[in-house]
């Protein structure tokens, strides 16, 4: 099941403001708490955080919302960000790189997700191979990429730890929205 959370709506519910900007740490904390509550209530395996009605995103607020959600993930839900404008994504990337983490971003509602943040070339290659070829094992990906098994396993484990891919009984897959 996929859950869509409209971040701007949570901002208006959490903070008494006529503006739609995600600024300040206290705002970030309030919005993050609302997102966590929505995720727990929704119980979905994949959640799309939709920023399409949000104005400005500053570094402090991005840190409080995105970085802290990723560093302390709520349950088993995988997160994908969508509806981000270039400048918003830039602030979020800055924060992700600071923490050495990454997140999945969908550039358009119908588009495929891509990893953003501290993403090495190996990680990028492995992610897009999995996305194109579908779920596979470490052996399978090693064959597809021509890498050694230890290199492949290390990349897959890193991606699973960053919650960019699902790991289930030796099989790895990119989280996909339910059709």
């Amino acid at each position: 099941m996929t859950q869509t959370i409209r971040v701007e709506r949570l901002l208006r519910e959490s903070v008494q403001t006529p503006y739609c900007d995600l600024v300040t740490r206290s705002t970030g904390r309030a919005v993050r708490t609302s997102i966590q509550q929505a995720l727990v209530a929704g119980g979905a395996s994949l959640a799309m955080l939709d920023f399409s009605e949000v104005g400005l995103v500053d570094f402090s607020c991005a840190d409080e919302i995105i970085a802290k959600l990723l560093l302390d993930p709520p349950g088993e839900t995988y997160l994908v960000l969508q509806g981000l404008r270039e400048e918003q994504l830039e602030a979020i990337e800055h924060v992700l790189e600071h923490h050495d983490i990454a997140v999945l971003v969908c550039d358009s509602p119908a588009g495929a997700a891509r990893p953003v943040g501290r993403v090495s070339p190996d990680l990028r290659t492995a992610f897009f191979t999995l996305q194109a070829e579908g779920p596979t094992t470490a052996d399978g990906l090693a064959l597809q990429t021509g890498w050694t098994l230890s290199r492949t396993t290390e990349v897959l484990e890193t991606m699973a730890r960053l919650r960019l891919i699902r790991a289930d009984s030796g099989s790895y897959a990119v989280p996909q929205p339910a059709a």
Binding site: Q16, T17, T24, F59, A91
Partner: protein, 300 residues
């Protein structure tokens, strides 16, 4: 008898040192008279600094300071248009005629002098600035449209330093003007100031041991601005100033922060300011200035 604090005729971040020297010549509890009669011009940094000084006196429990307004009518009108006198009247006794003009944000005053005390104030500042900032940054200074968002982000992070670290309220103002002497181009200037604890006291508990004998206002500014450290142990902290620097490097902007007796500057290629100056006259809190210049070839 009052101690006279001289307000420089042309008051900006450089002549501020004259003001700080005069202000710090005695204790904050002295009866003071700020003499601005000869003032010809003041940058947003200067307006914020004068409010900060008056606030520091009030917070120290000193007598209500006096303030003689500029003789020049155009200067009085400009300062009134920035909202300066309205806020100053709450902190000082004004001597002289003050024009009754509403603050005007449709001109070069992008953001009138605005108090910053809480997170809500930062929301309001960021919400108000965006339309005017787009008009000036994109329309006059020749920056890409997306620069407006980064500008508002930098403003937000600078204001949050007050909310998160100062321990008291502060002020922000944003103006556009021609930077003739130093640059020969138009600029947008963000000035943020407070009379709070300053960088040294904010960072002392977590950083002073690391610096040892070197610890002081200069070392605290170096830790915060160059090393991006914060008084909080949260590893996500310290990104605000780092974000401001990142934005400024893209647009050849300048960042200067003065706190206590030191001043640090991220110097752009067009400027020759000193990266670090220590042993200055003491001044309360922290004063931040961000300068975004017109891009070369821009019509502004």
């Amino acid at each position: 008898m009052s101690r006279v604090v001289e307000v420089p005729a042309s008051f900006d971040d450089r002549s501020f040192e004259q003001f700080a020297h005069s202000f710090s010549a005695g204790p904050l509890t002295d009866r003071m008279l700020f003499d601005a009669r000869g003032a010809q011009w003041a940058s947003p940094f200067a307006l914020v600094a004068m409010l900060t000084a008056a606030q520091a006196v009030r917070e120290a429990g000193g007598p209500v300071p006096g303030f003689t307004v500029p003789v020049a009518e155009d200067v009085r009108r400009y300062w009134a248009r920035t909202g300066f006198f309205g806020h100053l009247a709450e902190l000082a006794e004004l001597h002289g005629k003050v024009p009754k003009i509403k603050p005007d944000t449709h001109s070069d005053v992008l953001l009138e002098v605005t108090p910053v005390r809480a997170s809500e104030d930062v929301h309001a500042v960021v919400g108000k600035i965006q339309e005017g900032a787009a008009r000036i940054l994109h329309g006059e200074l020749g920056l890409e449209a997306k620069a407006t968002m980064g500008f508002a982000m930098a403003l937000s992070e600078a204001c949050q330093n007050i909310v998160e670290h100062a321990g008291t309220g502060g002020w922000v103002s944003v103006h556009a003007y021609s930077f003739r002497k130093r640059l020969g181009r138009r600029v947008v200037v963000i000035a943020v100031g407070d009379s709070g604890v300053g960088f040294r006291r904010s960072l002392e508990a977590t950083q002073s041991r690391r610096f040892g004998d070197r610890w002081g206002d200069g070392a605290a500014l170096e830790a915060a601005v160059i090393q991006n450290v914060s008084r909080f142990r949260d590893p996500g902290r310290g990104q605000g100033i780092a974000g401001i620097k990142r934005y400024l490097s893209r647009w050849q902007g300048k960042l200067s922060i003065r706190s206590g007796t030191a001043r640090i500057v991220i110097v752009p290629p067009w400027d020759d300011d000193a990266p670090m100056t220590e042993h200055l006259a003491p001044f309360p809190g922290a004063q931040v200035q961000i300068v975004i210049p017109a891009q070369e070839g821009a019509s502004g």
